[in-house]
């Protein structure tokens, strides 16, 4: 921007985010619609946190194929167990809720027939109704943070910013939920943690852009609102991209080197952070202009 004579009133911008708003609304709508369709067709791939059940992760003394392990599980009477390989000699075995005695029987049988390394890698047993509480309190947490943010942004900015902020948050929430239904990735308590994390983080970029718009409105009252918004998004673009990229660095490293537990967390965060930056730039700014054009009070 450092051309010969930079002036305060120079409000030229490079990218027209507001004008292209419709395209991005369509993109988001398609993703969320696909997610919703998949939700009704197939639903979430709930983990044992939600369905109740038992999960054993076992490291065997030797490498073993899924078919071989399946055979052993059938012989033990748990042919329907879900088997997932986490290494060539390591498996996650998911069954319905079982008693301690039944679990001991499975472990003994695996030990006798294949040989396992003790202690187990992990072992979880969840009662069937447990998730009801998690869902209830998650919904409360989501509702309270949305209400809190609505009030805060309303006080610090204006009601139109507050409503757009909430829209952005919900957008990111639904994008992440759609990610889980479309990819059929396991939906468990980690996913809930990811969703809540996104809730806390997704608005950062949006607020920075709002702050710039707020400032520009004050400095220049005559300018067309859509130009002010475009200018503000462009001015903050370098920051949005820089911060977004840096936040993603450790997450991408985890995706490359992490174990399944860590990856589970990182994948959701990756989607959520990208969606957070995307919605702040491409969804929030056209939306606030659209809101302005709709209500006479703000028209310029």
């Amino acid at each position: 921007m450092a051309t010969g004579k930079p002036t305060v009133t120079d409000r030229s911008y490079k990218f027209d985010f507001v004008g292209k708003g419709k395209i991005w609304f369509i993109v988001s709508t398609v993703i969320i619609l696909a997610g919703t369709v998949m939700f009704f067709v197939r639903g979430f791939n709930y983990g044992i946190d939600f369905l109740g059940g038992n999960l054993l992760e076992v490291k065997f003394k030797q490498e073993i194929s899924v078919t071989e392990l399946r055979k052993v599980m059938e012989e033990t009477g748990y042919g329907k167990a879900i088997l997932q390989s986490t290494a060539s000699d390591q498996y996650i075995i998911r069954t319905v809720p079982i008693t301690t005695q039944e679990k001991t029987r499975i472990i003994d049988s695996l030990d006798k027939k294949i040989g396992i390394i003790k202690p187990l890698v992990q072992d979880r047993n969840v009662a069937a109704g447990f998730s009801k509480q998690i869902i209830k309190y998650t919904l409360i947490a989501v509702a309270i943070s949305i209400a809190g943010i609505l009030i805060y942004v309303w006080i610090r900015f204006e009601v139109r910013f507050a409503l757009v902020a909430i829209f952005e948050m919900l957008h990111d929430l639904f994008i992440v939920l759609s990610f889980y239904t479309i990819t059929y990735r396991e939906f468990n308590t980690t996913s809930i943690a990811v969703i809540l994390t996104i809730l806390g983080y997704s608005l950062n970029d949006g607020i920075v852009i709002f702050d710039r718009i707020r400032e520009e409105i004050r400095i220049n009252k005559k300018e067309k609102f859509s130009d002010l918004v475009n200018y503000s998004v462009n001015k903050t673009l370098a920051r949005t991209l820089t911060t977004g990229t840096m936040t993603l660095f450790p997450i991408i490293v985890i995706l490359i080197i992490g174990n399944e537990t860590l990856k589970d967390f990182a994948v959701g965060l990756l989607i959520g952070i990208i969606s957070g930056s995307y919605s702040s730039i491409f969804i929030g700014s056209p939306l606030i202009v659209a809101w302005n054009n709709r209500f006479q009070k703000y028209k310029k």
Partner: protein
């Protein structure tokens, strides 16, 4: 140079606090959560005890509402049992909805320990009124319960059978004497958690002690003795979740996330210096202080670090540098307008501050909601997220500001250091400030 003195004081305070923080890290190592250290976590839901002890309140169904005093008492009793089992460093806490969460690092037989810790162990003595058509005992009300015991131990009776011997405390002994004297010739049922263990006929007045018969093994007798010693739980407990993380999985997760954090930090450092040159270098000082303070506070608070806590830390690294990115972008913008170094720095910090505060407050609002209504791991995340946001405000804004303002008149603070290209005509302007 009043300004400089203030900045030096700020810098001095930071150096002292960071020193203390590093000292604390060395003295108190970070406590690890179960998902990183390995161990067993149990979530128990408390439900009302069956109203059997009064015998008259069969219709009373107080489901759901359990007093928090009862839960606190149950937690204390369980802690006592864990202690007697010889498990070190247990953690018994209550969560958002009055579930009891027990964490046991490194137990050999988690299932057995869990069963024992959560056993109600309600010992009752009831007069047998008769036997119904199914062969079940018809029992009178509980005349005396296990909370008046003074001791219990496993042993053998004269026939070589495994028994649990118990003795009453003085109050219990007096009561038991009265009960037995009034019921000579009647069978007295000894009921443990609703199961009639034996129903011997009272032949004479008994006061101080007695035995529980029909116990499978000496091991079982020892377990019963242990739970009787610690007292009955005032509530019934249903196991909601038992989770055992083996030591290798926890170690893997910890090492990988630390490695990811380090590699991520290195990448961030390269990126910051590439984008903001000297300013980027100064912000790295802020980031290093941020990590030292964060780690230090974690070690002082003794909150166990969990996997989701690490997720929070990793996310806040982004938040911490973000403040500097915002500030530096604003400084460069001001300088591009042709303002002096000092004015640009002042304006840059001032203009960025609002955005930083507003975005951080929205994050804090969510963290507070997560802390209040989140489950265990989510709470851990909320704590680290909030800590990170608050600490980063100090390091990225106050500390970095002091360092930059102290440096502002030195020779190294060139446009190249700041990373801006200033048109040649404007250079004299930037040297005029003081």
């Amino acid at each position: 140079m009043k300004q400089n003195r203030l900045n030096l004081i700020v810098l001095g305070i930071f150096i002292i606090v960071i020193g203390l923080s590093i000292w604390s890290i060395l003295v108190n190592p970070i406590k690890l959560g179960l998902d990183l250290e390995g161990g067993t976590q149990v979530i128990l839901k408390a439900t009302q005890l069956q109203a059997a002890d009064t015998g008259t309140s069969g219709t009373e169904q107080n489901s759901g509402s359990i007093s928090s005093a009862a839960i606190d008492k149950a937690m204390l009793i369980m802690l006592n049992r864990i202690d007697k089992l010889g498990i070190s460093e247990p953690l018994v806490t209550k969560d958002y909805s009055n579930n009891i969460v027990i964490q046991l690092p490194g137990v050999d037989e988690p299932d057995k320990a869990v069963e024992l810790i959560g056993k109600t162990a309600q010992l009752e003595f009831k007069i047998v009124k008769g036997i119904d058509e199914n062969g079940e005992y018809e029992l009178g009300p509980a005349l005396i319960t296990g909370d008046k015991l003074s001791n219990a131990s496993a042993g053998y009776d004269s026939n070589g059978q495994v028994v649990v011997q118990f003795s009453f405390n003085s109050e219990g002994a007096a009561e038991f004497e009265k009960i037995t004297s009034e019921n000579i010739g009647n069978p007295l049922a000894i009921v443990l958690d609703g199961e009639v263990k034996s129903a011997p006929v009272i032949r004479s007045v008994i006061s101080g002690s007695g035995v529980i018969e029909n116990i499978g093994s000496l091991e079982e007798a020892k377990d019963i003795a242990l739970v009787l010693q610690t007292g009955a739980l005032p509530v019934n407990l249903e196991i909601q979740e038992v989770r055992t993380i083996g030591p290798t999985l926890g170690q893997d997760s910890l090492q990988q996330s630390i490695l990811a954090g380090i590699i991520g930090l290195i990448l961030i450092a390269i990126f910051m210096v590439a984008a903001y040159r000297g300013l980027g270098l100064v912000s790295l000082l802020g980031l290093a202080s941020y990590i030292a303070l964060f780690w230090g506070i974690l070690s002082i608070l003794k909150t166990p670090l969990t996997l989701s806590g690490i997720a929070g830390i990793i996310l806040t690294i982004g938040v911490a540098v973000d403040a500097n990115v915002l500030i530096f972008a604003r400084i460069k913008e001001e300088m591009a307008k042709g303002k002096s170094k000092l004015a640009s720095f002042r304006e840059g910090f001032k203009n960025a501050l609002k955005a930083i505060i507003d975005s951080n407050v929205t994050t804090l609002i969510t963290a507070a909601a997560l802390y209040r209504f989140g489950t265990g791991p989510i709470r851990g995340f909320a704590v680290t997220l909030a800590m990170g946001v608050i600490i980063s405000m100090f390091t990225a804004i106050i500390l970095v500001r002091s360092i930059l303002f102290l440096m502002i008149n030195s020779k190294i603070m060139t446009p190249k250091f700041i990373g801006v290209k200033i048109p040649k005509t404007q250079i004299p302007k930037t040297q005029k400030e003081h």
